[in-house]
Each structure stands twice: as C-alpha cells, then as structure tokens.
Assembly symmetry: C2
Homo-oligomer: 127 residues x 2
DNA sequence: TGTCGATATATCTGCATCCGATATATCTAT
DNA sequence: ATAGATATATCGGATGCAGATATATCGACA
C-alpha cells in the first residue's frame, strides 16, 4: 500500500458521506458540500458527474430520474430546474464508506506521527 | 479552493516532516517513512527523487553531496553505498511545512463534519 | 572470484484524477 | 425578453502516482 491512502479520492469519501444522510441529486450534493464546508470546498460539475457515474457502475449507489410535474407544482418547494437524477447509497456503498472512513482515520493517525515529530523544533541548521 | 486540499501532495508533507527532524539523504527518507508508518506507507524512488528535485528548485530544501571516503571508513557506520545526496530543510521549507500542517488540520476538521453525519445511521432505505 | 542482495540516485511512461471550459436545457424573476 | 440560477453531462490540459528501467557501489557468502 502506497502513500496514496492519504488522498485516494477524498471526493468519493465526501460524496458518499453526503449520500449516507439520505438520497440526493447531483446539484444538491455539490451545494451541500459547499454549505457543510463553509465554502471551503467545492465540487465542480466536471468532477461530480463522472464520479457519480463511476459509483453507479460500481453499484455503490443506485440512481433514478424523478417524475417531473410539468405544471401543477402546488407544493411549496421553491426548487429549481427539472430532470433531477436521484442517487441513494446501496448496502455495498455503505460498506465502502465505512472502509474509507476507517482508512482515513488510520492514515490520519499515522500522519500525526510524522507531524508530531516535525512540530517540535528539533532541527539543527537552517540554510 | 477546491476539494483537493484533502490531498494536494500528501507526500510532500511527509517528506518535509521527515526533513524537519534533521538532514537526510533520499534513500534514508524512504526507509524512515516505511519505519515510522510500520510499513503501511512507502515512497518509491520514482516518486521521491522527482519530488526532492522539485523541492530543491523551489528552495524549500538545500542539497549537497557528501564526501566519499573511498577507503578508510574507520567509523562504525555499517552503512551502504556511497554517493549520498543530503537534503536539509530551509527556512522557507519550514514555513511551507507549517502551512501544510495547518491546511491538513483544517481539512481534517471539515471532513469530520461530513463523516460525523455519516457515522450516525441516519439514512432511510438502502437499495 | 563471482554472484547476489541491499544501498543509492535518477528518468521514463502509462494511468488516473482534478477541474476549468464547454454544451444543452429548464425554470424563476425582473 | 433577458438574465441568472438550476440541472446534467462531456472534453481536454495539467498534474501526480507508482511501476519499470538504468546505472553504480558495497558487503556477504560460497
């Protein structure tokens, strides 16, 4: 296992986490990421949709287009455009998420060993 | 700022951390990473040397070849091959390391918000 | 003496990912 | 009518990862 545990698709972990809180459609996912991170993170469309496709092919999520009420729309949702594709986590996706969370915690713990050593001002000469 | 804060060269952070504990040459750095991570991580030569070159060009580290004692070698070092290139952290490199550490801590804190939500079994149907 | 494995540095290259740009279309508000 | 937000999707340049390859020295063992 190479160093890449630190990174290997951090986006996947975040998207899977959002989906663990309930079904969402793509655009809402990107908004949720921005909101939960206070604008610090953003997932662009060019990254999100390929990722969702990949997750769908891997059966980590299942997807379905919603019924479009062309007119009507009596409900109070001020919501936007139609043609929404909803994604929900599969059991397999939930397992993957748990794996990724555990891998992340392990990687963070290991990294702390490196950082901990570096935090202390323990070096001699600085050129 | 995109999601890539989570990753953006985790290798650089690790190498800089190792160098913060004192000057090292390339091969020793890769061994130290393996040792400190209990073999969980490894930095291949194909990744390490280009990175060290990059860090040197960016003046984050300074490098110098050691004097080779062709014969002699009275000291007790059982050490291996010659032609060692030693790297040491510069002041600029130390600053970069501190930045990277802080960025990592921020990113980890944000990620915990996502994971924290996902940790709780708070989703409805699993397909 | 001869060969093997470890030490040591370095480049090349295939693959995947990141993410800005582009395309299309609908809905809301002014 | 026009602009901006909503919504999905693909393309392509830039970058990074990591295995393969190349070269050379040193210690150990038969």
């Amino acid at each position: 296992m190479a160093m890449s545990d630190l990174q290997t698709d951090g986006t996947e972990l975040v998207v899977l986490s959002v989906l663990a809180q309930g079904p969402q459609y793509g655009y809402a996912i990107s908004k949720r990421v921005a909101a939960l991170s206070d604008g610090a993170w953003s997932i662009g469309a060019g990254q999100l949709y390929p990722l969702l496709s990949k997750l769908e092919k891997a059966k980590l999520v299942s997807a379905s287009w919603d019924e479009v009420k062309a007119e009507g729309r009596d409900e109070g949702d001020a919501g936007g455009g139609r043609r929404r594709k909803w994604y929900r986590l599969t059991a397999k996706g939930r397992q993957r998420l748990d794996q990724r969370i555990e891998a992340h915690r392990r990687a963070t713990a290991v990294l702390e060993r490196f950082i901990g050593g570096a935090d202390v001002d323990a070096h001699g000469g600085v050129a």
